[in-house]
């Protein structure tokens, strides 16, 4: 076991030497790279990385450039989880056989995927990796939409969001299904650690990532990634959107240990009404028409109910 990197405060964190490079092709203001940097900088150990097809992948490894300073692999849309599990298996095999070139290292195996790659097309692959409990971390960059292909709904897209395949229109309020509870599903694999994180709460996030790296076995991380292009807000407001997501409790921050022990890790001092979160994004604009205002009320009720549920789970200590 390697020593955990000491990150007392942001000043100390800022001495990190990034292993992710600029001049990638992500949109200005994209939260993906903020999340990636927080994950990578949480450790000084060597990294072996994978990414599923998606914004992160197509923007960071377009020939002849790579934005990765650690070994990285992309295979397809659905299988970054399994790619990294294969690499982790090879590491274990070579370790047993004494064939590692640098046997003194403690590499961390991390796969990234968007919500399309994770909630939908790669769901089974991730489930397999979690069930097999590989010593790896899977990070969802959850922007609640197929952003790379131009804004189609995924099973992470929440009710009322307008996506290109569930567009708002004269008789439609957009997406009609609620967001899939990926955290609940992944925790139900009884993996040692699952956590929901947000880039604005960097300390909470880094703590969870470090906890994940220190965990032997499969770790699932769901990170909210406000998407300037598909959520339709000004690129400069990415962190404001992340603040609204966490402080309205639309995106509560918590962890689940060993599939059952739930801890809420962030309790906003001033809880923001869900309406403010929705109002800041173009994808929910139509909900503010009179005929759809009931949906905003329902949104608030759903968020309140979920928060109450998480609190009961935490109190129950089951």
């Amino acid at each position: 076991m390697s020593e955990m990197k000491k990150i007392k405060n942001l000043k100390e964190f800022s001495t990190s030497a990034d292993r992710f490079e600029g001049a990638n092709l992500l949109c200005p203001g994209c939260a993906h790279s903020i999340i990636v940097r927080e994950v990578l900088n949480a450790t000084n150990d060597d990294l072996v990385l994978a990414a599923s097809t998606g914004c992160l992948e197509v923007c960071t490894a377009v020939y002849p450039y790579t934005s990765w300073d650690a070994s990285w692999i992309h295979i397809g849309f659905e299988n970054s989880s399994t790619a990294i599990s294969g690499a982790e298996a090879m590491y274990k095999a070579l370790k047993t056989k004494g064939r590692l070139k640098q046997p003194d290292r403690n590499p961390k195996f991390v796969a990234f995927g968007g919500d399309g790659a994770s909630y939908d097309i790669g769901f089974q692959w991730i489930s397999g990796c979690m069930e097999r409990n590989h010593d790896m971390m899977y990070v969802v960059l959850d922007n609640e939409v197929y952003a790379n292909t131009g804004g189609q709904r995924s099973s992470s897209t929440p009710i009322g969001a307008s996506a290109t395949t569930t567009p708002a229109g004269s008789i439609s309020y957009g997406e009609t299904r609620n967001k899939k509870d990926m955290m609940g599903i992944m925790a139900a694999h009884n993996i040692p650690y699952a956590a929901q994180v947000a880039p604005n709460k960097w300390k909470d996030m880094v703590k969870k990532i470090q906890k994940g790296f220190a965990t032997e076995g499969a770790v699932f991380i769901n990170a909210v990634s406000p998407c300037t292009t598909e959520w339709k807000f000004d690129p400069k407001d990415t962190m404001m959107l992340a603040d609204l997501a966490t402080d309205s409790l639309v995106f509560p921050l918590y962890e689940i240990i060993d599939g059952h022990e739930l801890n809420i890790t962030y309790r906003p001092k001033n809880v923001v009404p869900v309406e403010e979160y929705l109002a800041a994004q173009g994808r929910f604009k139509h909900l503010f028409k009179d005929e759809y205002k009931y949906l905003i009320k329902e949104w608030q009720e759903r968020v309140d109910a979920n928060w109450a549920y998480l609190n009961r789970r935490e109190e129950a200590r089951v």
Binding site: L10, I34, Y65
Partner: protein
Amino acid sequence: MANTGWDEFEIGAMLRTFDGAIEDIAGTRQEDRNYSPNSSFTASVADWRIEKPIFNKDYCIDCQFCWIYCPDVSIISRDKKMIGVDMDHCKGCGICVEVCPTNPKSLLMFPELADEETEIASWPTKEEKEK
């Protein structure tokens, strides 16, 4: 590389980040790394910008919010101090300005062609809080 023929590539379209070996990447600062021409570190997205951030160090408290929330690894912090913006990699999103907590802000957005010295000379003064 634009005229490179099919016989001049690494097989499998594999890319190497660095020229030669690098022992401890996480312990080596960007300026001390031997990036290969295939690292996007060697590329520029400066022409994406319409507006650019200008940094006024007189007001900076080195809180490092701009460093952590910059999506483009473009805030250069060394020894816990903010020392400037990497203008090759900054896409001009403006997040650094939004998250800057000082009053007046120590980072502000200006048109791409604005002159840094002129803008710093006429930097806004402290905003009074509304009572």
